[in-house]
């Protein structure tokens, strides 16, 4: 990857390409002051900020365009998930979006999932669904291959692809859509014990992912529902607009989704010291046992040469939802705040106002700064220049705050003082410091590390 990146950087330099706000496709909605907001019931803070801030655009009820800022954030999230999946030996694949209805019929889910499935027929009148999840599909694939040997297990396969659900009431923008980006992982083991060990391994990787994303979260026991199996856990971001009610025990720390145990004491220690809060479900994991492998006849060959059904687990992370829920939790009413690891750009350089004294004597300084920052580990491709020099610096800083850039480098009056300096603003904390040209890059290198682990 490093190799690729260097090529990209070299190419960008050769072509003189740099990220500039004047070229960024970010169509912002200028809402007249005092205008009435329509569809108030479907609006959440993050949805409004993402639409007004040109991060996403509405297509149809429950369908959205992801514009460049959202795409950059999601690409980061996808990569972060890839790293953690690789660290547990999970292998990336891709299943077809269309799944033959037959195999959902075989597992009994065709009627269970009911009206939330998008159905279609091909030119030969064959029935398909747009897959909301791929337990049937991946199990069928394994069943059609030479049986795995017990020596090849556990096998962990995952994909990050668009999924579909014909929601009755899509709402809150990317929080509940009819098409969404999901990372789904399927595990295959020889026994219930081995499946439990895999479950714990993946759980650990999920904790790693959520810690790196940098939004508070909690893990609770969940219902298995239509998915089947007995054991299931959910990951939630705490938010008042969440659909779920999660209960946690003040004594032993155990947490569970209220669905699993309507009221009463802690199911773990019996304490009555229970608190409740609302959560947005951003991840879900299930032990499926042989719920899918038995009807679809996906087996492995044991040490004794006999065939046994594979023991499965299923693990999902809603990537578009993690992005939206993270923004919902962190943002202010008028300012997008991205999960630290997912900010589309880490730093924005604000050039001098045109016609100002500093704009004459600091020509090229902003671009030089841009290229110097590209050399800092962790900042390659992470910097953008706000070159709209017809706007005041103050106006551009205000917009940068609204879009949620964590750091700003201001090439302003101080850049032409007796000791030329560049202003570094932390747009989250409001902290502002001045640094000489020679120190600046080093300071940002340290500072961006802080942003990255916030």
């Amino acid at each position: 990857m490093y190799y690729f990146f260097l090529q990209e950087l070299k190419m960008a330099k050769r072509l003189g390409f740099c990220h500039k706000v004047s070229r960024l496709f970010q169509p912002t909605n200028v809402v007249p002051a005092g205008a009435q907001v329509k569809n108030k019931d479907i609006l959440s803070k993050s949805y409004k900020l993402m639409i007004d801030g040109g991060v996403i655009a509405h297509a149809q009820n429950g369908f959205f365009y992801l514009l460049p800022l959202a795409t950059r954030a999601l690409d980061k999230l996808t990569r972060l998930v890839d790293e953690h999946m690789m660290s547990i030996g999970a292998q990336k694949i891709s299943c077809p979006t269309l799944t033959s209805s037959d195999i959902w019929e075989k597992t009994g889910r065709l009627s269970m999932a009911g009206s939330e499935l998008f159905h279609l027929k091909d030119r030969h009148n064959k029935d398909f669904i747009l897959s909301p999840t791929h337990e049937e599909s991946i199990t069928q694939m394994l069943a059609s291959q030479p049986a795995l040997s017990y020596k090849q297990l556990p096998l962990l396969l995952y994909q990050t692809t668009a999924k579909f659900r014909d929601e009755m009431k899509p709402r809150f923008g990317l929080l509940r859509t009819r098409e969404f980006l999901m990372k789904d992982l399927y595990s295959f083991d020889t026994s219930a014990e081995a499946a439990q060990a895999t479950y714990e391994l993946v759980s650990k990787a999920y904790h790693g992912i959520f810690n790196e994303i940098g939004v508070n979260y909690f893990k609770v026991r969940g219902l298995s529902g239509v998915m089947g199996g007995e054991v299931s856990h959910e990951f939630h971001f705490p938010a008042d607009i969440g659909d779920d009610t999660v209960r946690s025990c003040g004594d032993c720390g155990h947490g569970w989704n209220k669905e699993t145990n309507e009221n009463g004491p802690c199911e773990h220690c019996g304490s009555n010291n229970i608190s409740e809060s609302k959560g947005i479900e951003v991840g879900h994991m299930f032990i499926l046992d042989t719920r899918y492998s038995a009807p679809l006849q996906a087996t492995y060959t044991g040490a004794d040469g006999g065939r046994q059904p594979l023991v499965m687990g299923s693990y999902g992370l809603g990537l578009t939802r993690i992005l939206a829920a993270g923004l919902e939790v962190l943002s202010l009413p008028d300012q997008l705040r991205w999960p630290p690891a997912l900010a589309p750009y880490t730093l924005i350089i604000i050039t001098p106002k045109e016609g100002s004294k500093e704009s004459h004597s600091t020509e090229h300084l902003s671009e030089e700064l841009y290229w110097s920052l590209q050399e800092v580990r962790g900042l390659e491709g992470e910097v953008i220049i706000d070159d709209r020099s017809h706007l005041t610096i103050g106006r551009r800083l205000q917009e940068a705050r609204r879009t949620g850039y964590p750091l700003a480098a201001v090439v302003g009056k101080a850049a032409v003082g007796p000791v030329p300096a560049i202003e570094l603003q932390n747009l989250i904390t409001g902290q502002t410091t001045l640094h000489s040209l020679s120190d600046f890059v080093g300071v940002v290198a340290d500072c961006s590390k802080v942003v990255a682990v916030q």
Copy 2:
């Protein structure tokens, strides 16, 4: 990216995770000698090799699972395309897979594209199609936003997403499928002249991409067909199983798809020195003029404040097809050969046979070699160990050749000689050289550069 990668490497090391053939999900079909091949008419060399080699798996007619080797190759291709798109200032977005049929009705394409479209209805009985391409969708999105200013143009937006076409006769595996991965770029300009300049800019980036992929290709004039517009060019890989016949002039070098000009002399210089060959179309670019922006009313504001329809271009690269066509062109009948830039792994380490003298005295050598190679620029994540030490080295080399690993490092007898050495085999050229432990990493670093630019 570099930052991410280092994290990944650190994490992998901490967890002791390394890529091993024993864990790789690559279900190979062992075809009994003399067995009759079914469906001979739909088989191409690359399709057979990809299925037999466990690179892809069949799902339904025209739908495939991309297994880990294919996914790795496609991820590389996606990244390579991203770099070149970024170098011309194109911005990545994502449009919904489902497009409302209404807007295809408005542009008149709903009936033109006819039976190749997958249609579906949602729970509210609203008509959608699974998008094969997104001219309508993206134009509609721009029309729904505040009008772009001429100062923001050219605007180049692209995505890399699954596309759908209900082919009458899917065939040759990933070459003609009903679901495929496509990079589609749309450009928006103020005038025909500006659109032509953008067309040339993108064309240059496409040449850059195909040069880096490393498969011979040619660019010819094409028909615009159902897409509309007047100007169009195609990129082809030369292959006998290609659906297109391309003609080229031996005098002036001009090329064109036979569809555009059935017979006769060179349309450019009038020469009769014409040769014909078969090609697989892997890329297509169109100037669309206002074919979509006029009916969908996507306009920009000119310098005079007046509104004009945007002048558009459309540019597609079939990523799954590029992969399959590249393999079709390069592979031998019994050996996958990947386009150099897309090989899933660059190097395979083959460990000593268990019970051999060298297996006792070189314990850990293979893993140390693995980690040392990870540090070489361009080789991070590019190395895999064939740790199936119950198989002979010869057998594993044979399989490595069949799967198409470009380089093999053999930890064999020479590793315990008086001057311990590791054997480096170029599995494409057959060249074999011996290198001391201390030299080996440096030699591979040089050699992998050669592989990368082959």
